[in-house]
Structure formats: C-alpha cells, structure tokens
C-alpha cells in the first residue's frame, strides 16, 4: 500500500472542521453529556484508519469521533446522533461516547481500558472467520494502568492475535499527569509482554502511517500484535468546558474561582503544617501552570504539520480546505435541518 498524504490531510481536515462544528453546537447547547473531542489526535486516527479494509475492526474509547469519521461513517448520521435524534447512528440511544456501527465493525466505550478486551475479541473473531483482517484498539495514556488492558495485552501476545494497540499519549488523564501514576514507562511495560512497540510523533501523520502500516501488515500475515505509542497534544483538554482549559485561556478570572477557596483551605485550623500546605498549594498551581502550557499548540498541531508538507501545492491545499469546509457545513445543515430535531429543538 502507498501512502497518500493528500488523502490523509483531507481526512484530518474533515475531522478537525467537523469537531470544531461540534464544539460550536455544544456551546450552543445542542449536545449533552461529557463531550470529548479528538482535536490534536487527527494524525493518529488518520494514519491508522487509512490502513483498514473491509472486515477490519476498531475498538474505540471515549474520544471516538475522528476515527469513525475517517472510517467512512456518514457524518450526518454521526452528528444526528450527537444531537440525540432518533435517526442518528445509534437512534439517539448511544450518544457520542457510545457509538456503534456493525457495518464498520466499530464500537466505542466510555469505560477506560475497555477497548483492549473488545479489540482482542474482534481479533480472535478475525483469526477464526476472516483471516487476513485485523483489529485496532485506540485508548489514551491513562488506560495503561487499567488491569483489563494489561490482561488484553497478554491475551493478544499468547494467541498472536492480529491486533494493533494504539496509545494516544497526550501525557494527561483528566487532571493527572500520567507519568506521575505510571511506574516505569509504557513502552517498556508493553515490551515485557513480548509485543513489538513503535514509538512515534503522533502529530506527524507520515510517521504514524508508516508505523501503523508495518504493524498492520505483520498482523495480517499472522505475525501477531503490535503497539503504537503515539505522542500528541490536545489543546481542548479533557472534555468541552474543561476547567483546566478555561484557566489556561482566561487565567485571571478563572484562577480566582479556584484560588479563593484554596486560600481559605490554607487558613483553616486543623490540617497539615503551613509549610506543607504551601507545598500542596504550589503543586496545584504548578499543575495548572503545566496544563496551561500543554493546552496550547507548540509545534505540534498535526494539521499544521501536514499542511507544511503539502504547501508546495498551495492551490490544491486551498481547494481541499474549501471542500472540507463545504462538506462539513452541509453536514451540519443537513443534521440540523430535519423536522425531528428531538433534543436540540427543545432548548
């Protein structure tokens, strides 16, 4: 298979624009629940999903939108589902964290780590029923300490299952720096299961594509599981409305909300010594500070990176962006303009 950087860029664009529309709809009150967008993970999704064919399967986490969109699911169905419409992808019942498409063998779950067991199950079925097909599990860095995921790594290894584990490592699990709660490091841990690991810059779609291509190729040939450790940055934070992100963007007004009660806590009678309290306060402040830094693009907006690679044909790039914009605009209109706008309409 040949890498088609233009196609990858296009998918990433579609995903980004789609999720930006989702953010707007969320802000306008048309979308409910905890909305987790994958802005910043597009290169990982694109590079991996580009490898998939008919009969391949995907197990996704609480941030499934980019992969589903790129896998070819009708974005109108997807958006109608987010809006809670009876004609959405899952009849409005699943919602954006629980998206399923049997046709695409794609399933998501809001339980951290669950994509591991599901994917090895998909891979076992592939081994039995569809030799040559594969399964992919997507999850975040926080999932690596979930027992069922580690168990799933073991199952994949002992049965040489055709599965690719993709860790989208943004270094954070909600407000926790994963490193601070993960002994050793993810790559060594996975290697100890005898699983091949590739570590890549997850903002670089070319790098992801190559690593995923090799891994999935091996899986198709029966050479067993692989693990892709893909580093990325996610400026939108954990969920839409993430207070950490608010603080990063509006440090003064938002910090006050947090620090006033914190300062009160410092002065309450019983508790740690003042020195200890100051230290704890410092930890909170430094975490917020680090978030603030991590919640802005550095050089790692995957879309910027791929655009840079393609800017030699500026005109084509521009055309592509316009097309993607137009498509998503139409998607949003189509999704909003039906009569039965169950939920959104209520607002």
């Amino acid at each position: 298979m040949q890498m088609d950087l233009w196609e990858l860029c296009k998918q990433m664009l579609r995903s980004r624009i789609f999720e930006e529309a989702v953010i707007q709809l969320w802000e306008d009150g048309f979308i409910f629940g905890e909305m987790h967008v994958g802005i910043g993970e597009e290169a990982i999704a694109a590079g991996v999903v580009a490898q998939l064919r008919d009969g391949d399967a995907m197990a996704l986490d609480h941030r499934p939108t980019p992969s589903l969109l790129m896998r070819g699911i009708d974005p109108v169905l997807l958006l109608r589902e987010f809006l809670g419409c009876p004609d959405g992808l899952c009849c409005g019942i699943g919602g954006h964290m629980h998206l399923f498409s049997q046709e695409h063998l794609a399933a998501s779950s809001g339980i951290v780590g669950a994509s591991g067991p599901t994917a090895v199950g998909f891979a076992l079925a592939a081994q039995h029923l569809r030799p040559g097909t594969v399964a992919v599990a997507f999850f975040g860095d926080g999932a690596i300490n979930q027992g069922m995921l580690m168990e799933a790594l073991n199952l994949a290894a002992i049965w040489k299952l055709p599965v690719l584990f993709v860790c989208k490592d943004n270094e954070w699990a909600i407000t926790t720096l994963s490193q601070s709660v993960t002994a050793g490091n993810i790559v060594d841990r996975v290697r100890a299961f005898g699983i091949r690991v590739a570590e890549v810059n997850g903002s670089d779609v070319e790098a992801v594509w190559k690593a995923a291509n090799e891994a999935i190729d091996r899986a198709r040939k029966g050479e067993g599981p692989s693990f892709l450790q893909a580093h990325c940055c996610r400026p939108e934070g954990h969920l839409l409305g993430d207070p950490m992100v608010q603080m990063a963007h509006h440090p003064i007004s938002e910090m006050k909300k947090t620090t006033v009660p914190l300062l009160k806590s410092i002065t309450k009678r019983e508790g740690g010594s003042l020195a200890e309290r100051a230290r704890s306060m410092g930890m909170v402040a430094s975490l917020i500070g680090k978030t603030a830094k991590d919640r802005f693009w550095k050089q790692d907006d995957p879309l910027e990176l791929v655009r840079n690679k393609l800017k030699f044909d500026h005109a084509r790039l521009k055309l592509m962006e316009e097309e993607a914009n137009r498509e998503i605009q139409q998607v949003v209109q189509a999704a909003l303009m039906t009569d039965e706008l169950g939920t959104g309409g209520r607002q």
Partner: protein, 337 residues
C-alpha cells in the same frame, strides 16, 4: 429417552451445537482439561484455555460475539464474576441498546454456582437475582439434566448475552472435583432428581423465559429455581403429612421472569413461598413479591433465602441455605396466618 448426569447433558448438548456451527467456541481457564472431550473433538482453537484474566477474557468474548463468533465463555464460579463485572454490566448488556438495537452480542457466560458442600462464602454464591438486575442480561438456571441440555442449546441460539448457571450440587462434574474430591467419606445432600435423569434422544431448545410447574398444589405455591426446586419438592412431600397441598414452580429462567405463569400459579392458592438460594434482599424474592402486587394478587408471602454470607461450617451453612426443613416450617407459618 436417555439417562444422563447434569453436566454430561450440558456437554452433550454443547457438543451437538458445536458440531453443527463452527462459530461456537469455548473459552475459559483450564477448558482443555475441564472440557477435554470437547477439546479433543474440536481442537485447541475452538476450545481455548485462557490465563486467569476474567476481566479481559469475558470482554474478549463480548468482542468476539460482536464480530461473528458465538462464544461460550466459562468463568469457573459465579463468585469470580466480580472480576469480570464491567464486561457484563457495561458491555455485554448494553451493546444492543447503545447500537439502537442493531448490534447483538450472542454470548453465553457459563458459570458454576451455589453451595451446600462446604466451600465457603467466596465460592458458593448464587447471584442470579443480582445479575438479573442488569437490563440486557438473560439469566437461566436449570434444575434437571433435560433442562440443562435444552437451556444450553437455547442459550447458544440466543442472539443476546445469556448467563448460564450450573449448580454445583447438580453438576456431577464440579461436584466430584470440588465437593467430594472423589472421597467416599463425605456426603452431601445432592438432589438425585436433579443430578441424573432422562434427557431427550435428540436435543431441543428449552424456551428461555418459561417456567414450569413441577407439582400442583391447592394450598400453597412454592416458587423456586435451581437446587431450591428439589428442596421445595421434598418439602411439599413432607407437607402432605400436615395435610397441606403445596405446588412447586420451577422458574428455570430468572430473567426475563415468566411473570404470567408465576401469577397464575400463585393466584390459585393465594399463598406464595419463595425459595431462593441467592441472597434474600434486593433480589429474586423481592421481584416475585413485586410481580404479585403489580398484578394485584393479594398473596400471603414468605421467603426462604440466603440472608448473609455463606459460612464454611457445614452446620451453619445448612442453616444459612434454604433447606427442606426451613421450607416446611415457613410454609406452616404461612398457612397459619
């Protein structure tokens, strides 16, 4: 008609199904030896021994079922489902709903359950009422070899997840291994009618969700499931001496509950005695009470269940689990009221 042990019946029906559908696979700890007959006949791909990773391998079975296989995944004892609960609660039970009814999980989770042989409170739980609380799970509990085979067949054919529960006092296989350890120096109160009996020449599915009246009665309606059915049958005989005619209903399926049969069965006598080896509170016995009240049947009601953690000591254990003796005394109280 043939005669068979309870677990032999399960294996026979399972082998029959596996012979006709390549998609059926068996997964679980030690299945290469625990199900060595199936292992030899169908090979190590279809009868697959797992590590002790119930969380992941039950989750794997859910995924495999979604992707076209029909797994029968064994979790040795119901007690160990705690480790695998997320796969049942949030995945097996919910995929059909979440997908808008479009994607099914044709999965059988086979577990041994129940006590009466001194294995202690972490190894003798029944938990069927607990599992039944979760919408989307079907729970079956056979009490005879014929139902054991027939319900296994139905469970396999079902397109939704079924928890198949095999009581260890009935299952000759588990009983020999865990109960007696093949000693002749111990004895347990094994219901003979349940452990061995006639089965059809050719297996037919026993419909899920259908209770069966094991004995008619005019004065008192005993509703039970699993080993409790046999205890209730014995109690019904003992109650004859007291000139009490007690009927016995075997639910066979806990969820979906055959409310219709339950209601007509209890209406007849106006007295319902529930015999339930699962924990008493917030479970099957309560749901049967609700079924009666919802249907507007003003029954007198009593229950003989397991009220607390099951003790190891055989005497205390016998006091804790529903026994013929307690059923009779509770029945007598209920008749007096």
């Amino acid at each position: 008609m043939r005669n068979m042990g309870f677990s032999d019946a399960i294996e026979d029906a399972l082998a029959h199904a596996m012979a006709h559908d390549d998609k059926i696979i068996v997964l679980g700890e030690d299945v290469h030896m625990l199900r060595s007959n199936l292992f030899v006949r169908f090979g190590k791909e279809r009868v697959r021994a797992t590590p002790i990773s119930e969380g992941a391998f039950v989750g794997l079975a859910v995924g495999a079922a979604m992707a076209g296989l029909r797994p029968v995944v064994e979790v040795m004892f119901a007690d160990f489902l705690g480790v695998a609960m997320d796969a049942l609660l949030n995945h097996a039970a919910k995929t059909n709903r979440f997908s808008g009814g479009r994607w099914n999980v044709p999965l059988v989770v086979r577990v041994a359950c129940g006590g009466g042989y001194g294995d202690g409170g972490q190894h003798e739980q029944s938990l069927w009422g607990w599992l039944a609380h979760i919408p989307g799970l079907t729970v079956v509990v056979p009490s005879t070899p014929a139902d054991a085979g027939g319900l296994m067949l139905s469970a396999i054919q079902c397109d939704d997840p079924v928890i198949y529960m095999e009581h260890k006092l009935l299952s000759n296989f588990w009983f020999d291994l865990m109960g007696t350890g093949r000693r002749e120096t111990v004895q347990f109160d094994v219901p003979a009618q349940g452990a061995y009996g006639s089965v059809p020449q050719v297996w037919h599915p026993v419909p899920i969700g259908r209770a069966i009246i094991r004995r008619d009665g005019e004065d008192l309606s005993i509703v039970s499931v699993g080993v409790g059915v046999h205890r209730a049958m014995e109690a019904a005989v003992a109650l004859e001496d007291h000139r009490i005619s007690a009927g016995v209903l075997d639910l066979r399926t806990v969820s979906p509950l055959d409310r219709e049969t339950v209601c007509s069965f209890i209406s007849k006598t106006g007295r319902m005695l529930v015999v339930d080896e699962d924990y008493r509170d917030f479970g099957l016995s309560g749901e049967l009470a609700a079924s009666a009240l919802e249907a507007g049947i003003p029954v007198r009601y009593g229950r003989v269940c397991t009220s607390d953690t099951i003790p190891y000591c055989r005497d205390l254990e016998d006091d804790m689990l529903p026994s013929t003796h307690t059923i009779v005394s509770t029945a007598l109280e209920l008749m007096e009221e």
